[in-house]
Protein backbone atom coordinates (compact mmCIF):
# COMPACT_ATOMS: atom_id res chain seq x y z
CA UNK A 1 0.00 0.00 0.00
CA UNK A 2 2.95 2.30 0.40
CA UNK A 3 3.02 3.61 -3.13
CA UNK A 4 4.67 6.93 -3.68
CA UNK A 5 1.51 8.57 -4.86
CA UNK A 6 -0.47 7.35 -1.90
CA UNK A 7 2.20 8.39 0.54
CA UNK A 8 2.43 11.81 -1.10
CA UNK A 9 -1.28 12.50 -1.18
CA UNK A 10 -2.21 10.92 2.14
CA UNK A 11 -1.24 13.86 4.39
CA UNK A 12 -3.24 16.30 2.24
CA UNK A 13 -6.15 13.89 2.11
CA UNK A 14 -6.00 13.50 5.87
CA UNK A 15 -5.88 17.22 6.45
CA UNK A 16 -8.85 17.75 4.15
CA UNK A 17 -10.82 14.99 5.83
CA UNK A 18 -10.12 16.34 9.29
CA UNK A 19 -11.18 19.80 8.18
CA UNK A 20 -14.33 18.31 6.66
CA UNK A 21 -15.00 16.35 9.81
CA UNK A 22 -14.92 19.53 11.90
CA UNK A 23 -17.28 21.13 9.43
CA UNK A 24 -19.63 18.15 9.73
CA UNK A 25 -19.38 18.35 13.51
CA UNK A 26 -20.28 22.01 13.69
CA UNK A 27 -23.17 21.89 11.23
CA UNK A 28 -24.55 18.86 13.01
CA UNK A 29 -27.10 20.65 15.10
CA UNK A 30 -28.99 22.01 12.15
CA UNK A 31 -28.11 19.77 9.22
CA UNK A 32 -27.12 16.14 8.84
CA UNK A 33 -23.87 15.57 10.69
CA UNK A 34 -22.70 15.77 14.28
CA UNK A 35 -20.11 14.43 16.65
CA UNK A 36 -20.42 10.76 15.84
CA UNK A 37 -20.16 11.19 12.07
CA UNK A 38 -17.47 13.84 12.32
CA UNK A 39 -15.50 11.68 14.69
CA UNK A 40 -15.68 8.69 12.38
CA UNK A 41 -14.54 10.76 9.41
CA UNK A 42 -11.56 12.10 11.34
CA UNK A 43 -10.73 8.64 12.63
CA UNK A 44 -10.80 7.27 9.07
CA UNK A 45 -8.51 10.09 8.05
CA UNK A 46 -5.95 9.10 10.66
CA UNK A 47 -6.35 5.46 9.72
CA UNK A 48 -5.55 6.30 6.09
CA UNK A 49 -2.58 8.38 7.16
CA UNK A 50 -1.43 5.47 9.25
CA UNK A 51 -1.66 3.00 6.38
CA UNK A 52 0.18 5.37 4.07
CA UNK A 53 2.93 6.77 6.25
CA UNK A 54 3.13 4.46 9.26
CA UNK A 55 1.76 4.57 12.73
CA UNK A 56 4.67 6.49 14.20
CA UNK A 57 4.02 9.40 11.88
CA UNK A 58 0.38 9.53 12.90
CA UNK A 59 1.22 9.43 16.56
CA UNK A 60 3.70 12.24 16.09
CA UNK A 61 1.15 14.25 14.14
CA UNK A 62 -1.53 13.73 16.75
CA UNK A 63 0.82 14.89 19.51
CA UNK A 64 -1.51 13.51 22.20
CA UNK A 65 -2.14 9.85 22.80
CA UNK A 66 -5.45 8.92 21.14
CA UNK A 67 -6.87 7.65 24.40
CA UNK A 68 -5.97 10.96 26.02
CA UNK A 69 -7.99 12.69 23.32
CA UNK A 70 -10.81 10.31 24.04
CA UNK A 71 -10.58 11.01 27.75
CA UNK A 72 -10.64 14.74 27.14
CA UNK A 73 -13.78 14.21 25.09
CA UNK A 74 -15.51 12.43 27.91
CA UNK A 75 -14.37 15.20 30.22
CA UNK A 76 -15.92 17.85 27.97
CA UNK A 77 -19.13 15.88 27.75
CA UNK A 78 -19.41 15.67 31.51
CA UNK A 79 -18.48 19.34 31.95
CA UNK A 80 -21.19 20.25 29.46
CA UNK A 81 -23.65 18.49 31.72
CA UNK A 82 -22.25 20.03 34.88
CA UNK A 83 -22.61 23.59 33.57
CA UNK A 84 -26.34 23.37 33.83
CA UNK A 85 -26.04 21.99 37.31
CA UNK A 86 -24.21 25.16 38.36
CA UNK A 87 -26.79 27.23 36.55
CA UNK A 88 -29.40 25.77 38.86
CA UNK A 89 -31.21 23.63 36.30
CA UNK A 90 -31.19 19.85 35.99
CA UNK A 91 -28.10 17.96 34.90
CA UNK A 92 -27.52 18.23 31.11
CA UNK A 93 -30.19 20.86 30.52
CA UNK A 94 -29.10 22.77 27.42
CA UNK A 95 -27.83 26.33 27.99
CA UNK A 96 -27.49 28.80 25.14
CA UNK A 97 -25.77 32.13 24.65
CA UNK A 98 -25.75 34.12 21.43
CA UNK A 99 -22.73 36.46 21.45
CA UNK A 100 -22.07 38.61 18.40
CA UNK A 101 -18.64 38.40 16.74
CA UNK A 102 -17.89 40.87 13.95
CA UNK A 103 -21.54 41.47 13.39
CA UNK A 104 -22.45 37.79 13.14
CA UNK A 105 -24.49 36.10 15.77
CA UNK A 106 -22.79 32.91 16.91
CA UNK A 107 -24.73 30.27 18.80
CA UNK A 108 -22.72 28.77 21.64
CA UNK A 109 -24.30 26.14 23.83
CA UNK A 110 -23.63 23.26 26.17
CA UNK A 111 -25.05 20.80 23.61
CA UNK A 112 -22.36 22.03 21.24
CA UNK A 113 -19.70 21.42 23.88
CA UNK A 114 -21.23 18.02 24.46
CA UNK A 115 -21.14 17.26 20.74
CA UNK A 116 -17.46 18.26 20.65
CA UNK A 117 -16.97 15.82 23.49
CA UNK A 118 -18.65 13.10 21.45
CA UNK A 119 -16.43 13.96 18.51
CA UNK A 120 -13.25 13.73 20.55
CA UNK A 121 -14.22 10.46 22.20
CA UNK A 122 -14.98 8.86 18.86
CA UNK A 123 -11.84 10.24 17.19
CA UNK A 124 -9.66 9.15 20.07
CA UNK A 125 -11.24 5.77 20.64
CA UNK A 126 -11.43 4.65 17.02
CA UNK A 127 -8.07 6.07 16.02
CA UNK A 128 -6.55 4.26 18.95
CA UNK A 129 -8.12 1.00 17.81
CA UNK A 130 -7.07 1.46 14.20
CA UNK A 131 -3.52 2.44 15.09
CA UNK A 132 -3.18 -0.44 17.51
CA UNK A 133 -4.14 -2.86 14.77
CA UNK A 134 -1.97 -1.22 12.13
CA UNK A 135 1.01 -1.17 14.43
CA UNK A 136 1.10 -4.98 14.49
CA UNK A 137 1.94 -4.84 10.79
CA UNK A 138 5.41 -3.67 11.51
CA UNK A 139 6.55 -6.51 13.69
Amino acid sequence: MRTVIFRFTAPYLTALMVLFSIFVLLRGHNDPGGGFIGGLIAASAFAIYGIACGVVAVRRALWFHPMAISGAGLFFAVVAGLFSLFAGTGFMTGLWIFPVFFGNEVALSTPLLFDIGVYLVVVGGITSIALALEERDTD
Binding site: N30, D31, P32, G34, F36, L40, V122, G125, I126, I129, A132, L133
Partner: protein
Protein backbone atom coordinates in the same frame (compact mmCIF):
# COMPACT_ATOMS: atom_id res chain seq x y z
CA UNK B 1 -41.70 -1.04 2.14
CA UNK B 2 -42.01 -2.29 5.72
CA UNK B 3 -42.92 -5.78 4.56
CA UNK B 4 -39.86 -5.90 2.34
CA UNK B 5 -37.72 -4.65 5.23
CA UNK B 6 -39.11 -7.41 7.45
CA UNK B 7 -37.90 -9.92 4.91
CA UNK B 8 -34.45 -8.32 4.81
CA UNK B 9 -34.27 -8.27 8.60
CA UNK B 10 -35.28 -11.92 8.71
CA UNK B 11 -32.56 -12.81 6.21
CA UNK B 12 -29.95 -10.77 8.08
CA UNK B 13 -30.78 -12.54 11.34
CA UNK B 14 -30.83 -15.96 9.71
CA UNK B 15 -27.39 -15.52 8.25
CA UNK B 16 -26.05 -13.86 11.39
CA UNK B 17 -27.29 -16.69 13.59
CA UNK B 18 -26.01 -19.28 11.15
CA UNK B 19 -22.54 -17.74 11.27
CA UNK B 20 -22.64 -17.42 15.05
CA UNK B 21 -23.42 -21.12 15.33
CA UNK B 22 -20.18 -22.10 13.63
CA UNK B 23 -17.08 -23.00 15.54
CA UNK B 24 -14.70 -20.59 13.89
CA UNK B 25 -14.12 -17.25 15.48
CA UNK B 26 -13.74 -15.44 12.17
CA UNK B 27 -17.12 -16.63 10.97
CA UNK B 28 -18.63 -15.65 14.27
CA UNK B 29 -17.18 -12.17 13.91
CA UNK B 30 -18.83 -11.77 10.53
CA UNK B 31 -22.02 -12.96 12.21
CA UNK B 32 -21.68 -10.29 14.89
CA UNK B 33 -21.44 -7.56 12.25
CA UNK B 34 -24.52 -8.88 10.46
CA UNK B 35 -26.36 -9.22 13.74
CA UNK B 36 -25.65 -5.56 14.51
CA UNK B 37 -27.01 -4.51 11.13
CA UNK B 38 -30.04 -6.72 11.63
CA UNK B 39 -30.86 -5.19 14.98
CA UNK B 40 -30.42 -1.68 13.61
CA UNK B 41 -32.75 -2.34 10.73
CA UNK B 42 -35.23 -3.97 13.09
CA UNK B 43 -35.36 -0.87 15.26
CA UNK B 44 -35.59 1.30 12.19
CA UNK B 45 -38.49 -0.70 10.74
CA UNK B 46 -40.29 -0.87 14.07
CA UNK B 47 -40.30 2.97 14.01
CA UNK B 48 -42.23 2.73 10.69
CA UNK B 49 -41.21 4.03 7.30
CA UNK B 50 -43.96 6.58 6.80
CA UNK B 51 -42.03 9.36 5.13
CA UNK B 52 -38.69 9.54 3.43
CA UNK B 53 -38.06 13.20 4.21
CA UNK B 54 -35.08 13.60 6.55
CA UNK B 55 -36.12 14.75 10.04
CA UNK B 56 -35.00 18.35 9.74
CA UNK B 57 -36.76 21.53 10.72
CA UNK B 58 -36.54 23.98 7.81
CA UNK B 59 -34.88 27.32 8.50
CA UNK B 60 -37.34 29.86 9.86
CA UNK B 61 -39.89 27.25 10.93
CA UNK B 62 -40.59 25.99 14.43
CA UNK B 63 -41.57 22.43 13.51
CA UNK B 64 -41.17 20.34 10.37
CA UNK B 65 -43.61 21.59 7.72
CA UNK B 66 -44.15 18.24 6.07
CA UNK B 67 -44.30 14.73 7.37
CA UNK B 68 -40.73 13.59 8.15
CA UNK B 69 -39.12 10.28 8.93
CA UNK B 70 -39.29 9.17 12.55
CA UNK B 71 -36.24 10.73 14.25
CA UNK B 72 -36.20 8.63 17.42
CA UNK B 73 -35.07 5.29 15.97
CA UNK B 74 -32.50 7.16 13.91
CA UNK B 75 -30.99 8.65 17.05
CA UNK B 76 -30.97 5.28 18.75
CA UNK B 77 -29.41 3.51 15.77
CA UNK B 78 -26.80 6.18 15.19
CA UNK B 79 -25.22 5.59 18.56
CA UNK B 80 -25.80 1.85 18.22
CA UNK B 81 -23.77 1.73 15.04
CA UNK B 82 -20.77 3.33 16.71
CA UNK B 83 -21.10 1.18 19.80
CA UNK B 84 -21.40 -2.02 17.81
CA UNK B 85 -18.34 -1.01 15.84
CA UNK B 86 -16.30 -0.56 19.02
CA UNK B 87 -17.63 -3.84 20.27
CA UNK B 88 -16.79 -5.54 17.02
CA UNK B 89 -13.27 -4.13 17.09
CA UNK B 90 -12.83 -5.40 20.60
CA UNK B 91 -14.01 -8.88 19.64
CA UNK B 92 -11.74 -8.85 16.64
CA UNK B 93 -8.71 -8.01 18.71
CA UNK B 94 -9.74 -10.55 21.32
CA UNK B 95 -10.00 -13.22 18.65
CA UNK B 96 -6.68 -12.16 17.22
CA UNK B 97 -4.93 -12.31 20.56
CA UNK B 98 -6.55 -15.63 21.33
CA UNK B 99 -5.28 -16.91 18.03
CA UNK B 100 -1.79 -15.64 18.79
CA UNK B 101 -1.68 -17.31 22.18
CA UNK B 102 -3.58 -20.50 21.45
CA UNK B 103 -2.76 -20.95 17.77
CA UNK B 104 -6.29 -21.74 16.74
CA UNK B 105 -9.51 -20.06 15.81
CA UNK B 106 -11.59 -23.11 16.63
CA UNK B 107 -13.71 -22.50 19.71
CA UNK B 108 -13.66 -26.19 20.59
CA UNK B 109 -9.96 -25.96 21.26
CA UNK B 110 -10.17 -22.81 23.35
CA UNK B 111 -10.56 -24.41 26.74
CA UNK B 112 -8.30 -22.38 28.98
CA UNK B 113 -11.10 -21.08 31.16
CA UNK B 114 -13.11 -24.30 31.25
CA UNK B 115 -10.69 -27.20 30.90
CA UNK B 116 -12.16 -30.42 29.59
CA UNK B 117 -10.81 -32.64 32.37
CA UNK B 118 -12.23 -30.50 35.16
CA UNK B 119 -12.66 -32.89 38.07
CA UNK B 120 -15.37 -32.70 40.70
CA UNK B 121 -15.04 -29.92 43.27
CA UNK B 122 -13.38 -30.50 46.66
CA UNK B 123 -15.92 -32.00 49.04
CA UNK B 124 -14.51 -30.63 52.30
CA UNK B 125 -15.54 -27.49 54.14
Amino acid sequence: METALCLVVGCLFTVALYLLLSKHIIRMLLGVVLLGNGVNLLIFTAGRVSSIAPPLVPAGAETPLTDVANPLPQALILTAIVISFSFFAFLLVLAYRAYQDLGTDDTDQMRVAEPEDDGPPPLGY
